[in-house]
Symmetry: D2
Subunit: 357 residues, 4 copies
């Protein structure tokens, strides 16, 4: 159950303080010329220590490809890769060996497996998402050739919310600030909010918005594997995610059908819709309009202050985590959201080749 | 891609105006004594014509089992079943053969497959959910024996919202009114809101809340197939769903970590949490607390009034649907939400048998 | 585990004496114009009562399609179908309810599931292969358009063996006799051998040879899902099959490499091989030459004479089956072998669309 | 398509002359205490350079585990591993860059993918089986605790055939000679035969027999994934394999049903069969008797003498391979056969936990 995708399949491996994090991509078409620097650039967007609002841990997170690429091209064979772990302060976690941290996976792993690698959260660490970012970066390169572009940005931090519609934003500005919000003014407020959380030794949650442009009509599956169901599944599989909506989402439930329906119109570029409450997907299949969605992230569970909890023998105790932790997951989660969206889209791109003969 | 589940797998078939709707359940354990009346009762909750706020179409929706059951017990072999179509007014749809209805799947199916069964929406009709309700009813019976109970109810219709926390409600009252809201006062307002939509020849959306009790700690998968990701995937695969959240959901993004964390406490019944912002799931794995989630439904796209649209030759036209349609999908979607949740949970119940030897 | 195939997937259902046998084909491309008579013709090749050397049971085995076909064309949606059971003499099996027949699946089903439908062997009956023949007939029609032809014939019955190489045979003669051997002289001997077995109230086994022509180079998967491994898996999944070999097979183990290697040669039609010990597959991938393979069938376990056995309480007893049974499975298994080969090949045909973008 | 198994899944990666060979095992139960030396011992049985009848290449083939094991125990998380490549004489293969070797996968890979890593055969090299031996060694350890033992041996080399029934052999003697035949006398003849092939700069094929003891009744799946179909699929996925048979196999086709049927008998140890033509499997499900099967290997295609062939531009040419190659694959394939059988059996062992609740 560590495999994602139907055709373009990522199987991920690794723990936070083990040998490394990596994966195998199976089902990647042959003949794709890979830009390895671009893959590394995506990892740089995810890596710790990149700004004052992320953890100060320094992890180079350099990817090594182990198979499947020859003379710069994919071979149609499995692409294995690893990012070897460095700078591990495993000793920071010794205290936690016998303790269940609140709202972490310590307790549930132990209940499920009867054993766990407690160091840095083991497999439940968000460090696992490295594998997704690498695979997603390859997916992005394939999609790029097909004219599909995926862009995510931070649209809310705590109560600080970007109120503009995505079409009003200049998404090229997302990377111009450390919080990855394309609106400079809101970005400042978000940064302040995160700094405040850090000063309080507390954490803060928020929302990431994803935009996919260039998907032609026809991608997606009609029943269970609807395109938005695949996207939702992908997003809800990211650590700390609590919700997903696309198109009109939860707000759309308050509209009447006559307000919500997207009327088809004739255009020079063929059939389009006047509005896009559908979020680019109708009946689970893309209709050629922009796909957009929102992903809710809870505040990170690791606080740098004392909390009450229980040890593995069911005795009350307290924890007081040390180490270098993020006060807010959002800025570093932007490339993860993009990567997971890319994995979904490349999979449906390939699936769509099978509709007819 | 018409199969749902990893171990307990439903493969669904059928179109709205074809021979019938049905499916095959593969991976159902042997020796389960089935209560067929209970399965039929779930179909009755879903079927049209059940009250003044649903479509007045009369469809008996009687299930016939075709295999896999002998002397009242499952045999470990595939359970095939069908609900044969009746009372089809296919002629009602003749006008729609060459037209793309707004916010339906007509256009996208045509783009994907180059062909479609236009009668009643064909495969994209919500009638397909019959297969899910039957399979879900079987899953429920298995879960029931394991002490797991799944209950859903309508918590919002348009702007009418049930403000109480689920723990304050008497869920046994859900079936006491036609809108399936356990709070009598709010139910009345919801019914009025739906009646109003019907009178306006319009439609209205809303939210269904699902509650799962009795899941022991340890169900779920840690990385991609997190328990809540599976639930979200299931819900987003239901027709008209636009969003999913569990536990603290989108609102939880505004809390700080110290507010959000669920502190572990000692109890007579073992380890519990003081609060349940986690929604019963931590790191993708159940922790023994109640699982709760919310599902957003858009207003139904079929309006009984004239709308502008495009025909299959890309010429502007208008549609003015006739026939008998629901003004609101919510009341009939409650058993569908429960069924999909049951399919997810029975799958993770079985998967969980594989953790250790 | 009742699903066959990766892309073109058949999920089969049904028991010998239940409501019927059928299946769902998911992943069939849209827009395929189906020749239903041709499908029915394949069922006629499989059905009982077709000649003096098969069982005299009369079963019309008429297929009914339940979904996925509209105006004669596949819709890209699941194709459900059923052959309803008729002419069931379930009472013939009452004696067998508490007995394990030698070399049948009675004992093993009971051990596995703790329950079984004993009537006519239930799910273990070769009647289940009806689902395969229907799905295979659709696969054949798709392959036919791609220039691929699948032909099987009986090459051995008991010790009566067709000694000629397949290239010396006129395969259009296979259907000209009731045993389905394209060599008239050998066919006579085989028929005699089967008649003799019938007269002895005994049964006899044999070998079916399959030939696939027109597969272009490039179909197959290189590691686990080698084209011949998929074929072998398919054949070994047929009732009564004990062995599979392709190309030079078991005999080829005695050759030296210099004898066995298929030298590449230049031809007007591109690269070909001088010999074809490879059986048209190299490294698991088709090389454009004919694919050929042999499938071993054991003698049928149901004998019309008394045999010693054990009842379900582990007491010794005897059985003396009545009813109408085949003395030899081979003639009726020819369309089943072809069907399973077709399912494998259509799957690899579709998979092969995913190699490159 | 580089994943093997339903529950206990191996995804393999790597090329002959790339960074290394490895894989990820997903679905391994938690809490298994691994004997890493035993895993390494299996690799030693497979590795080159182990005797005078194998290639003289020296490859240490030391496995490194990258994840999923903590304090010596499996964690229920993915077990990644690699054997890093050493001693690569890639230059030996420069001549082959533009040539298709007879009966290799060079031509078919190129046809399928339009690109290939020609060095040492790339992904089509039997070096890929390292991943299978590692995963199989873990599977063996799990099976061992369940009382299941898998033993393979060489039963034929060229025309030299071990005529004894496996029950007459002392399988503990298999490792006592370099050809891995438990009969000392026959082993000598086989070794001579292989030496002769080597002296001739030629190669020779043969047969490996596999024996599985201790499987309880009830493992296997009844329809497509019959236990023997899974075994056949596994064996036919091994490089150079041309055929598979189990139980009475191809020879059994000549028996009558009354000779072939395995009569059930009462014993102190419950129900057994008097004979075992079924090879321990009835209706696709184990019956508690020994499982035995035979696997045909063709002679290796790489000959150390000149052969006619074609280059990638379809011009005739000759090849004259250098390097260090095996004259016979059989002795080194014994642990591979065992490994693949172990993967199949551990998968069915786990699947069998899902039959009932």
């Amino acid at each position: 159950m560590n495999t994602f995708g139907q055709i373009f399949r990522l199987t991920s491996f690794g723990e936070s303080h083990g040998r490394g994090i990596g994966g195998i991509i199976d089902g990647c078409p042959a003949g794709v010329v890979l830009d390895v620097e671009q893959i590394q650039a995506e990892l740089a967007r995810r890596k710790p220590g990149q700004s004052k609002i992320t953890t100060q841990r320094q992890e180079p997170d350099q990817v090594e490809f182990l198979s499947g690429i020859f003379e710069g091209k994919t071979q149609g064979t499995p692409i294995a890769f690893a990012v070897w772990n460095k700078d591990q302060h495993s000793a920071d976690y010794n205290d936690l060996k016998n303790i269940y941290r609140p709202s972490h996976a310590d307790f549930t792993y132990m209940q499920k497996y009867g054993t766990r690698d407690h160091r840095g959260g083991g497999r439940s660490s968000a460090r696992e998402t490295i594998a997704r970012v690498v695979a997603g970066a390859i997916a992005k390169q394939i999609l790029d050739k097909a004219g599909v572009k995926i862009q995510a940005f931070v649209s809310q931090v705590g109560e600080v919310k970007l109120e503009k519609h995505y079409a009003e934003l200049d998404l090229s500005q997302t990377e111009s600030n450390i919080v990855r919000c394309p609106d400079a003014e809101t970005a400042e407020k978000m940064i302040d909010r995160i700094m405040q959380a850090g000063n309080d030794k507390d954490t803060v949650g928020g929302v990431i918005t994803g935009i996919v442009t260039g998907v032609p009509a026809g991608w997606g599956e009609p029943v269970f594997n609807k395109l938005h169901a695949s996207l939702g599944f992908a997003m809800l599989g990211i650590n700390a995610v609590k919700g997903f909506e696309y198109g009109s989402g939860f707000e759309g439930t308050k509209l009447s059908g006559s307000q919500h329906n997207d009327v088809f119109i004739q255009t020079e570029n063929g059939i389009r819709t006047k509005t896009n409450h559908s979020g680019g997907i109708q009946g689970g299949i893309s209709n050629g309009e922009d796909i957009y969605f929102r992903v809710a992230f809870k505040p990170i569970a690791t606080l740098l202050k004392e909390q009450q909890t229980i040890d593995i023998d069911n005795n009350p105790t307290t924890i007081n985590p040390k180490g270098r932790h993020d006060p807010c997951v959002l800025p570093r989660a932007v490339p993860i959201v993009e990567a997971m969206a890319a994995l979904v889209l490349v999979d449906h791109y390939l699936l769509n080749k099978l509709n007819s003969i």
